[in-house]
Symmetry: none
Subunit: 215 residues, 4 copies
Amino acid sequence: MSSNLFQEILLSNASKLSVKQERIVEAAIQLFAEKGYSNTSTAEIAKAAEVSEASIFKQYGTKEKLLLHLIVPRVKEFFPVMAEEVIGSIVRTNSSLEGFLRAFLQNRVQFALENKDILRVLIKELVYKEEIKKEILPYLADVAASRLLPVIELFQERGELAQLPPRTVMRMLFTFIGGFFASRFVLLNQDHVTNEEIEDAVRFMLDGIRNPSSD
Amino acid sequence: MSSNLFQEILLSNASKLSVKQERIVEAAIQLFAEKGYSNTSTAEIAKAAEVSEASIFKQYGTKEKLLLHLIVPRVKEFFPVMAEEVIGSIVRTNSSLEGFLRAFLQNRVQFALENKDILRVLIKELVYKEEIKKEILPYLADVAASRLLPVIELFQERGELAQLPPRTVMRMLFTFIGGFFASRFVLLNQDHVTNEEIEDAVRFMLDGIRNPSSD
Amino acid sequence: MSSNLFQEILLSNASKLSVKQERIVEAAIQLFAEKGYSNTSTAEIAKAAEVSEASIFKQYGTKEKLLLHLIVPRVKEFFPVMAEEVIGSIVRTNSSLEGFLRAFLQNRVQFALENKDILRVLIKELVYKEEIKKEILPYLADVAASRLLPVIELFQERGELAQLPPRTVMRMLFTFIGGFFASRFVLLNQDHVTNEEIEDAVRFMLDGIRNPSSD
Amino acid sequence: MSSNLFQEILLSNASKLSVKQERIVEAAIQLFAEKGYSNTSTAEIAKAAEVSEASIFKQYGTKEKLLLHLIVPRVKEFFPVMAEEVIGSIVRTNSSLEGFLRAFLQNRVQFALENKDILRVLIKELVYKEEIKKEILPYLADVAASRLLPVIELFQERGELAQLPPRTVMRMLFTFIGGFFASRFVLLNQDHVTNEEIEDAVRFMLDGIRNPSSD
DNA sequence: TATGAATGAGAATTCATTCAT
DNA sequence: AATGAATGAATTCTCATTCAT
């Protein structure tokens, strides 16, 4: 029943939100980020947004649709943008693999910090809610793969990247980057990420932990 | 209020469970693993376990205590064991860093597959439930650090491991391994892990993705 | 935790109640009066009031708050009024001690009969529920003392009242009048009080049981 | 269904209680006295008595029977004794009305203090529980009347007591004494009663509050 | 005699949702 | 467009009671 909700909302062009609707969205994001969708009642959202519960339902129909209305537009905005703005531009500037990874991570961390709450909601519900997972995970995987694989292949052609199957490289990067975002923003609830941390991460992705001079 | 629950249960020696009580535990683990603690009602658990709801509460007092009674003993069992059995033994056999990582990952993946549901519960609630996170995460971090840091230092002395701050190495490994377990067992809900996957992971942790011959 | 409930409700100006809300109040008073707060379920109240249980909780939050919302406004109304309307006016008309006691008792009995159920609730819970006792008894004692002591002193000045410590007189009167109301309206559940009973009571308060001509 | 319970227990000769049974009785009396029968669970009693809940039910069948087993034997012991020991003896010693009232009140206050908890239970449940009231109140009234009326008539013959209908005198005394006990031991939960208080009460019962020299 | 284990029937409370105004 | 009022269906938890051992 909810399997088409994601598509629906994905394709719909979000109309401008009124002041009250904006308040609902903000309150919901914040509460969902903190306590999770399942542990947040519509009454709490209404109170935090200073609107009536009825208004929420008038606007969004069900609590689940509200969740999707929060997540989907940001997901749409998050990953596709990754393609053009981030990857494309960087690659064309003939940057090194290291430069690319650094810029990519910096850029996405920046974005995550600016959208921290919605990211927390996304990660939490991706882990917790089967419906969300089933709807969004394949989409994320597809989009991300279509953006990242060409880059990986490009760097392999340039000889900067180990000759592993591109999908293997991608999987490793996703595993690490996913772990990075989940641990920093959800588990540790960090409000900022130091340059050092980013450098460590870039270094790890590039070279791992082995002492290169050990033979 | 619940901050002592963890300690309490951690220190308590679980008494033997009757058949019905065993059924409660199994049903709860399975349901929590699938739908999450917050989306599982005690009525569902009772039905799945074929006991009365009252029996659950007689035994565990509250739903939250039930959750902790599922998680805590396994967490106790999971990590400390890591020290002696896994790390210790492996290190003493003078194995290489690569051998250690491979054995470690194989061993923990094996353990995870044997305790998949409880691991899923743990990861889900670690991400979702503030109380669980606050109680268990520091404990996990402590135990894990006390086990892993000596190993890291050992391999650094042997010159096999890059001369990075041990805590940095540890953080990177946790990030990756955490991402590995969370993605495989929670997001993808895999029932097995191929050798290839493990080899890829070991390779990535050791050497990253850079082409070593690129200079 | 409930110690501020009384104050809260005491100070709050009850808003107008809808028809259904009025029905809740009536049903609750009647049931609490008959069976006591602790032996009345919210389901029973809902059924008697022909509303849903949810409506009760939407309106009052908890069962205990409902109880206080029944009691407090009436207590407020009951005793202060005693001051101006009853005592004040009577005293100023230069009535005798006997006339005062008679009028006072008649007036309060009249009031009690008109508010019999709520009085029964009050007395029952005053006796039974520590929280109610702790919150309301001191308030009742204060208000009553502040009204009655001046009257006692006035009649002592006039020489109509025995030269006993005013507080002693007050305590005796409270003991007797409290016993009178509790026995008549709670124990015996009387629906009316005869003039004869009032006269007997007035006589007893004034002169006790001793034969005055016995010396 | 419970209307014969009282008679049953009243007529049964209580057998000696075992140690555990004694503990049950003590725990129940104390808890009922504090929180009331309706707000005390059998689980609490079992815990306080350090026996199993099953033992309580084995012994007493139902919670209500337990209550009656606590109350009835003491009520039996309380009032009949009043006849012989208290009233009879005092009257025959040709004591004055004042002496009688003083001795009576002193004696019953003493008894009440020695059995404070059971008295609190009795008063609370008399006020709160219809079944208890219906069963015990008539019995109390009967016994008390049969003891007190002869005394009243005796003092009237001696001319010490006002020439009022004996039942009227009795009712006034009950009202006052009931109010005295209820307020001191239940509402105020006093642990002792001063001589002064007793003197004040005796004085009030005898002479009321009127200034005798006012004519 | 004593009790550990189990439970059916309720209890208070919460929740997402509807609808008339 | 917004909401106050209302609720059916759960939800967590409690309770007196039973019974096999």
